[in-house]
Symmetry: C2
Subunit: 229 residues, 2 copies
Amino acid sequence: MPTLAFKLNDHLYLRDPQHTQLGQKIIHSSVLLIDRLGFEQFTFKKLAEEIDSTEASIYRYFENKHRLLVYLIAWYWNWMEYRMEIFTSAVVDPNEKLKTCLRVLAEEKKYDPTFEFVNEEALHRIVIAELDKTYLTKGVDDHNKEGLFGGFKSVCAKIVSLVKEINPNYLFAESLVSTVLITANQQLFFASHLPSLTSLEPNENRYNRLYSFLENVVFCSINADNKYA
Amino acid sequence: MPTLAFKLNDHLYLRDPQHTQLGQKIIHSSVLLIDRLGFEQFTFKKLAEEIDSTEASIYRYFENKHRLLVYLIAWYWNWMEYRMEIFTSAVVDPNEKLKTCLRVLAEEKKYDPTFEFVNEEALHRIVIAELDKTYLTKGVDDHNKEGLFGGFKSVCAKIVSLVKEINPNYLFAESLVSTVLITANQQLFFASHLPSLTSLEPNENRYNRLYSFLENVVFCSINADNKYA
DNA sequence: ACAAATATAATAGTATTACTATCATTAATC
DNA sequence: GATTAATGATAGTAATACTATTATATTTGT
């Protein structure tokens, strides 16, 4: 099976890194390096040393390190959507489809050999720790116009359509879904670093607990037959 | 009525800014400047120019700009807790208390003359745009040990205790509350910048809609008498 | 009122970052 | 085999996030 590649928004990069060796090394190593150092401490210089290349060469692929981060996180959401498609394609009941999406969202991430040069485990830690930094900038509006957040928005829209299929009268579909997508990662961060803010345990069972929490929040809200519905 | 001051964690500052004129100018102007420039573009040098002082002087109050941000946001959560106390003190029913807390959380923020040198409207915009940056760092664990996040954790704990009073069997109190505290601000950000991710409108009614959303999520989850409870 | 202590200002300096520019070299392609 | 394009090597710049030193106010205790 050939290595697949996602078609990501043009504005994310200057030169498409998926199609060259250097580009793939940039993706591969930046995931590991950002995971290790954190985005603040990560620099193109350090990355260049890591892959035996130069700062200048990396700048030919990405305008700056922020765009690279946005690229990686867009890649992650494309991957999420791709997995959601795979696992829901055979399912008909929208309730079950929605549950499947939440499972994919909450599950522990493992290396996916379909995409050779991306370590999804490390990438997931990056998403947990850095996702918010992609849009919490003074440039959001411009970046949004360029379509840089398309991956996340697409996953959100997909799940929103399931919610509306299940309950067309539910008033807060978009808010509920964006909340759940973000809190899924946030709660894992809390489990590791601020345990008093979460009901998840720090052990391996947390992924199941996380799923239960998300399922609870989502289905209680959209199925509620009380005055809060 | 005298200007009140919050007792914030010692580790947030080197010299307590609430007790000196320069310190108060630092707080006052940093709120306005971070709001205007965003945290990334904000520097102590620019702040020094703004208040006709020097970088070196500001460094005697705060170790670095990150601590100043954490300080301001801790101040915000202290203020939130203070307001929640005020408005819930006369209420007995825990359901009503919880609703009141959510109202305080979701309401539009206006200048509170009790605290002369803090512009709460601008500070709220900072919380919306920068909150996550306070803990999404490689230093979280150390900062947490120092107690830098006490303000947020305290508000969270207070609301968790209400949730548990209402339904002692609910399994996800901490996760639900931290999710709600964070999403309240996040949804307002989306309403301004990424409207496809939220069910709030960008107009002034969004604060009421936000409250409805939060009430819906919280009460559906904790009162659900279905299999998801 | 005066000395001592402390806070602030003024100024300078440093390592690092986030780039940009130039030119040489290697590799791919036509 | 020549042309084009990608990469590497190197240098340079403005800004940032500090630290250090000394001078000057301002406050405080006696």
